[in-house]
Symmetry: C2
């Protein structure tokens, strides 16, 4: 398949988009000045972040967009157009490219409320003599209160979570063990294949006074919470039992004899949001969120002692066993 | 080497940048609203666009930025900050990452006049179990006349070129034949390793009345000129002898028994600019350009007959032999 055919396939499916003066087909895309002030980039490598045997092309396209939607949500922003970099490996044919694009479209339809806001405006396609490498650059815009960064946590703040933890890691293990046919774990496999970015919650939280810092869970809850606290010399105490995770996860861990707490604390790719909120504002924010259908779960408190202490279900042992966990190339992130 | 080390290496080398509120280190970068209205993306794959044996890490970094600078220049814009996607293959170590970043920096220093405008503000790094795949997303801003797109050519317009054609293709052939040690072809090899993007010329031309369309030569002159004409149902007549190419290229073609005209007409990766200008304005633009040290060479005319006819040095034969040329995945672009 030729490069122009691929570009043509993508272009044929796209229309005009808010904030975009000129999309696919020139040396660069032209944006309306002032339309976007956020930009995120996320890359997925075959064999590291996905495997064709475990995910369909549409699943991979979905996940590629979901990862980036989640980054913009974690800044308290709303998402806009994107650029694609497709370096396509040997086995990738036209149907596979169509699948990738269908997955991108399905993710936008499912997770983004405003129509015609999120779609491709340019990029580059080429052949890879090895694995398929996909990269997406997503634009977004902050709300009236500006971006919610990773900085801003203070001792005494509430640590809260939106979304479930550990489901994607559990689903990956189900796939690794060849058990994806087991119906009662379908929800976990789906969480790995088509993770849900907290698009609406992120944008809503970005508009609330008292929301001090946010991050999305891509490397694992404990590690990503650390990103919010470590630079400020802070730590947190977290109640393990308060951490939201699906009932199927616990049942699956018991049945497989797996370390379920590790999925919850160190599993990546869930794209839940970790939210740091001023203690005096938290109840009001959580109540207003509930009114919007957004479940903001308090799971712990920021404190001036460094380190993340996880209490319950093994207590300090959990924290200790996670201390050495890092997203290394050798491990390859989620599949490490 | 760990992902955080790589990000740290890149971050340590970057300072504040014009138009950027928040750079590396959060879920997304934050731009000043209205600072940029252009965005280009270009991807380079090991074994397709470069080989480690033929280019140093710094050469590859240079070329990655040059390709994107060229895209922004071809819109008549000036370049700004960029995002990186590094999927690093097996042999890539810390020194190699440093080399890539040094090459990016060297390209910015050499080709961009304004200091502190072009540098990294974010991205993603991961390991690749196969070839190294590098992608760069570059921001830019248009001048007061807006973007110069690929559309706008009219019958009778002048076809002009800024920069030399064919040198990078000749240099690649020198490398393919293992002759890079031959001193008199060093200029050609350098053109392959460290192509020169027409950064200043592009931005200057974008401000001139009568400049109707531009494209940079990445796939080869004949093909890229076709991109400017085909959608409008136009063609052009081009004088082969007028096309600018280095003297070393002709000597090299004779000595190697190679088809030098093919390098000039179909060689990619030179990043010369093809400029379409109103005939009545061309002489004035070219004279003013010369005053700025920019050499704008008239090479032919747009006409209403479709197709690109190249006259001289083989005449119509050249056009015929190029008709079937296309940037296919099988051929892999520049190395096809």
């Amino acid at each position: 398949m030729r490069e122009f055919d691929i570009i043509g396939r993508i272009k044929a499916r796209t229309g005009s988009m808010a904030g975009v003066r000129l999309g696919i087909g020139d040396d660069a895309a032209v944006l309306e000045r002032g339309a976007f002030d956020l930009v995120a980039l996320d890359t997925m490598v075959e064999g590291v972040h996905f495997r064709w045997g475990w995910s369909s092309a549409a699943d991979v396209g979905w996940k590629l967009l979901a990862r980036n939607l989640s980054d913009i949500a974690a800044m308290g922003g709303t998402s806009g157009p994107f650029l694609l970099s497709f370096a396509l490996g040997e086995g990738v044919d036209g149907a596979c490219v169509d699948g990738l694009v269908e997955g991108l479209e399905a993710a936008a339809r499912a997770m983004v409320e405003a129509r015609g806001e999120v779609g491709p405006i340019g990029g580059d396609t080429t052949r890879s003599p090895g694995p398929t490498v996909l990269s997406l650059t997503l634009f977004g815009r902050t709300g009236p209160r500006g971006p919610v960064t990773r900085r801003g946590a203070q001792a005494g703040d509430v640590v809260a979570v939106v979304g479930a933890l550990g489901a994607a890691a559990a689903g990956l293990e189900v796939l690794q063990r060849g058990l994806e046919g087991v119906g009662r774990w379908a929800e976990l496999v789906e969480a790995h294949r088509r993770p849900w970015a907290q698009v609406r919650a992120g944008a809503w939280l970005g508009r609330q006074e008292g929301v001090r810092a946010m991050i999305d869970v891509s490397d694992g809850f404990a590690q990503d919470l650390g990103h919010l606290l470590r630079p400020a010399g802070l730590g947190a105490r977290v109640e393990f039992e308060a951490l939201p995770s699906p009932a199927a996860l616990r049942a699956c861990a018991v049945e497989l004899g797996a370390e379920g707490s590790r999925w919850v604390l160190a599993g990546g790719d869930d794209y839940a949001l970790v939210v740091i909120a001023a203690a005096g504002r938290f109840e009001a924010i959580a109540a207003a969120a509930a009114g919007e259908g957004i479940e903001l779960v308090s799971v712990g408190r920021v404190r001036s002692e460094r380190g993340v202490e996880v209490v319950g279900a093994g207590g300090l042992q959990i924290a200790a066993s996670l201390a050495g966990y890092e997203h290394t190339f050798e491990g390859g992130g989620e599949e490490g």
